[in-house]
């Protein structure tokens, strides 16, 4: 295929993506016209107060997402290092912990921690209890990504650094981690997308975040389908932007030299046909 033909193909594909969007919009308009989603139920969205209300929920969502991400990133490094090189008993405990947490549904973790936190006598707000649950889960997944990133660095480099007299910590900090981080970044961003989507689970545990606020809003206005569609679009804008960033990071890296580390939910390496 010539470069020109490929360019034409790409243009048509982009048109097709817009067509997909148009089909979605057409379905919604069709449902409005058929009276399934009457226009009156969309009317609340003309009111800026609804958006301000949803915005408040979005703020809580972002708070949870950022807090859980930062905490998970901090926790994942020691977990990964322990899984690679800690003494056998510690390693076994860490492996067991990571595997059990990863085998648990996030919703079960969130509900478990939010429901049972009060029993321990700790007075912590539901939103932070939910953030703790998300952190426990995300740090276990990130630990695996970090481990794969570290192990993807050729052993020879570590041996060379150690023979040059660098201590273990300096080898990690100066040789292994900077390279590993470059490979891990797409997978980390991809996990961040999963995390953002998972914050919505907190609404089931009565944590007021975007979906929780949306539920109060549609109970009041009686327009659940319409409000949920708007919420889906808000999440889509955030997550799609993140996925574009992740893709860009991948494209800037020569793929043959550095194989990417794959994340959960099957992030795929970008394949250039």
């Amino acid at each position: 295929m010539t470069a020109a033909a490929r360019a034409v193909g790409r243009g048509a594909m982009r048109l097709g993506a817009y067509l997909g969007l148009a089909i979605l919009v057409a379905i919604i308009i069709g449902l409005v016209a058929l009276g399934v989603l009457p226009a009156a139920r969309w009317a609340p969205f003309a009111d800026v107060r609804v958006w301000r209300f949803l915005g408040e929920g979005l703020l809580a969502t972002v708070q949870m997402g950022v807090a859980a991400l930062v905490a998970s990133l901090i926790l994942s490094l020691p977990l990964a290092l322990a899984r690679i090189g800690a003494p056998a008993p510690v390693r076994a405990v860490v492996i067991g912990w990571i595997e059990l947490v990863r085998a648990t549904p996030v919703l079960a973790l969130v509900l478990g921690i939010v429901l049972f936190m009060p029993r321990t006598g700790l007075d912590i707000q539901p939103i932070w209890a939910a953030t703790l649950a998300l952190t426990i889960y995300t740090s276990a997944v990130l630990a695996e990504i970090v481990r794969a990133g570290i192990l993807s660095i050729p052993r020879g480099e570590v041996e060379a650094a150690r023979s040059l007299g660098l201590p273990y910590a300096a080898t990690m900090r100066l040789v292994v981690l900077p390279q590993a981080l470059a490979r891990m970044t797409p997978a980390i961003v991809s996990q961040l997308i999963t995390l953002v989507k998972d914050t919505s689970l907190a609404s089931i545990a009565a944590v007021p975040e975007l979906l929780g606020f949306a539920r109060s809003s549609f109970t009041f206005y009686g327009n659940p389908v319409e409000t949920l569609f708007v919420v889906a679009c808000i999440f889509f804008v955030i997550c799609y932007t993140l996925s574009r960033i992740s893709r860009r990071l991948e494209l800037h890296r020569p793929a043959d030299v550095m194989p990417p580390v794959l994340g959960e939910e099957g992030l795929q390496p970008v394949v250039r046909a």
């Binding site: 097709g16 478990g112 049972f116």
Partner: protein, 217 residues
Amino acid sequence: MFGGVILDNLGIFAQGYLATVILAVAAMALALAIGTVAASIRVWGPPFASGVAGFYVEFFRNTPLLVQLFFYATLFAPRNLGITSDPVVVAIIGIGIYTGAFVTEAIRSGILSVDPRQVEAARSLGLSQVQTLRLVVLPQAIRTVIPPLGNLSIALVKNTSIASAISAREILFVGLLVQSRTFSLEPFVAILAAYWSLTIPLSIAVSRLERRLAFSR
């Protein structure tokens, strides 16, 4: 005695467990069907159709499953479209469409991982297009596709828990019901054990398979 609450409600737990398994199997079947069709369109379809399939992948991948399930549950309810009010059916459709988007990407990158020069070589040796696909592309593509599909099926089993939010009586829903009646920790232990009994064997199987496929390459 520990375990008493579980034994007293064994029947209801068994029903919930069964519902989780049915949900997972049916949703995975739907996701595989959607994913195969969408990936084929994505790779071999006209660019236009490929773009539409791409939009499907991006939209459903980047929206929380919980929001999607709430959306379908209210849209399909008798008050709106009147298609179904059975939460298990809604959950199968919702989880199937959601996971289908991930399956599409997994299958697509599996197909694209086969070097196009091999296709050219096979074609110039006189193999027909169908033969090339069946004898050259698919055997290699399946190898790359199986591990990610395995991981997706684990994620799917865990995602079935979200069906409890639309009152599907699967294991999490049932467990929380018993928990709210008894205020005991035990139902929660049973919930975790139930999910682990599904996800841990699956993940062991996936990593074994991954190692086997890596060797045979």
